[in-house]
Amino acid sequence: MSAVETLRPASPSRARRAWTFVRRLPLTGQIGILILLFWAVTLLTVQFWPLVDPLMMAGRRLQPPSADHWLGTDALGRDVLSRTLHGSTYTIPVALMVVVSAVVIGSALGAAAGYLGGWTDAVIMRAADVTLSFPPILLAMTVAATLGPGLPNAGLAMVIVWWPIYARLMRAQVLEVRTREHVEAAIAGGAGRGRVLVVHILPLCWTPTLINATMDFGQVALLAASLSFIGLGAVPPSPEWGSMISEGAAKFYSWWIAFGPGMAILSVVLATAFLGDGLRDVLDRRGPK
């Protein structure tokens, strides 16, 4: 129910603005939005769908797709379609949490670094530099190994990997916007430092972050899947897409086991890439038109 409510427009003018915005997106971006909407609805309502239990045996094991099991069954006789759809409630929220946490933490630190300068800047950015010096998967693997397997730990590992990207992005934006006339006017007008940052600077800085976050979303989902493949991600029996694909890879000749989650992850990565591209076209005025 809540899903429907959030989808219902708050006021006609805002709805019209959103609609105009979507109309301005290229076709691929619109497709991206459609795919993401599908997954959003799925993950919120999948428990009410007439699907078999994703954790329990539903038929003979390793059955190819049939009328009873549209995407076949896995090594434990569980329905792959049901598992794939339920998988959205693991992979997507984790990717979302990782991106949101990384954006919030990274942007806050980046803004502080860019706006305050001096020692704050030096400490934060050197920490970011060191973190960015690690190849992402190596750092994520090491952190996940340190914390032990499990999706939450894998998520934490990925936040650690991702925050510096947003810190750099936000810092660069803040540095640029800070010198604009209206900001200098506000400072001259005696506005407090915090007020200047929040009211006059930050609203102008979020575009690149938004575009990047959209595109990263799919990549985070992929990295989570990779960690599951290595054995440092989701723990069974949860139908996380990455661990389902690794189960499918182990039973390679039963290709349908990996097909469902593989297509699911592919659709999310493609959708976010499409949407990210679209957003850039529309929002980033300096970009190619």
């Binding site: 060191v130 190849p135 054995g231 593989g262 592919l266 890439a273």
Partner: protein, 338 residues
């Protein structure tokens, strides 16, 4: 610009110190008692054995002391002994690093060449069927989990079509070429052994393609968009107004300027490739540091985890440095920040 370069180069040792410290702290705080990897279960109750093992592996000293010892040894190229292989980590890595670099370099060549070609053609024939299909193909490479696409490619090209040999760097029956560079393809050529070169190349082809595929999209997108950008610039418009054809404008005027941004993305691409290499190596039984890192992480072999993280980060840092320098050199007007 010179000042910027000097600052970047001088920063490297400090970054490395940071990297090594983080690697040390992470590996030392690993969940799991190293003793359970080192002492046979039946001997865990034998204090004499446990003490001897602790002393042998330096586990009896407090953490700060271990840190100092580790750093001191590290400077001399000693990264400790692997719990898993019982050999010096530095030696394990030295033996395996060339395999990873060969794979990554080959993948980079595949990725940038195909990426630039696709980007160029996409810009030339933008919004055509080719443009969309090529971008779709490129995007697919970075959207499929590599540990799955790798298996599929192996099945198609090796098992079904028999175009490429199986996994590994060489056929198991073949002795590796005498090591000069550690790149089997290059070493085989240096030894004048054409057959061996072809064998090494045919083994390299599929993993390099799978891995390179994952970055085609990044490069293609960048080339396409910066070409389109360049096409909108005044000088291009002028050239066009003077009657130059699309093709001439694209090649002579736009491409040169569009290539500069490609330089910037190479460092970034490298990060992608290292990440992909870890998984590609696991699938293709490629004896590089990626598969080494995976087994180290799985068995909590922390001298190895520490070593491989440091080496990986160093390679990554240097790649970024080279890119930055190349970029600064190619585009002196760059506004330097950070």
């Amino acid at each position: 610009m010179l000042r910027y370069l000097i600052r970047r180069v001088l920063g490297v040792p400090f970054l490395l110190l940071g990297v090594a410290s983080v690697a040390f702290i992470l590996s030392q705080s690993t969940k799991g008692d190293p003793l359970s990897a080192l002492v046979p279960e039946r001997m865990m109750n034998n204090p004499e054995i446990v003490q001897a093992v602790e002393a042998q592996w330096g586990l009896d000293k407090p953490l700060p002391v271990r840190y100092v010892v580790y750093m001191k040894n590290l400077v001399q190229g000693d990264m400790g002994t692997s719990f898993n292989t019982r050999r010096p980590v530095a030696r394990d890595i030295a033996e395996r690093l060339p395999a990873t670099l060969e794979l990554v370099v080959a993948a980079m060549i595949v990725g940038t060449t195909l990426g630039m070609a696709i980007g160029l053609l996409s810009a030339r024939f933008r919004h055509s069927i080719f443009d969309n299909a090529a971008r779709g193909f490129a995007l697919l490479g970075s959207s499929l989990p590599i540990f799955w696409s790798g298996l599929i490619m192996l099945y198609i090209f090796s098992v079904q079509l028999k175009w490429t040999p199986g996994t590994g760097r060489l056929d198991a029956r073949t002795q590796a070429p005498e090591g000069v560079t550690g790149f089997y393809t290059v070493d085989a050529l240096l030894a004048g052994n054409g057959g061996l070169f072809i064998e090494a190349l045919s083994h390299l082809a599929l993993p390099a393609l799978v891995l390179g595929w994952s970055v085609i999209g990044i490069v293609a997108r960048l080339v396409r968009s910066s070409l389109l950008d360049a096409l909108g610039q005044d000088y291009v418009r002028t050239a066009r107004a003077k009657g130059a054809s699309d093709r001439v404008v694209l090649i002579n005027h736009a491409l040169r300027n569009a290539l500069i941004p490609v330089l910037t993305v190479l460092g970034f691409t490298f990060a992608y490739l290292i990440t992909g290499a870890v998984l590609t190596e696991a699938i293709f039984s490629w004896p590089g540091i990626g598969s080494y890192a995976v087994s180290a992480a799985r068995s909590l072999d922390y001298p190895a985890i520490g070593g491989v993280t440091i080496v990986g980060a160093t390679a990554f840092l240097l790649a970024n440095l080279v890119t930055d320098i190349a970029y600064a050199w190619a585009n002196p007007r760059i506004k330097v920040s950070g």
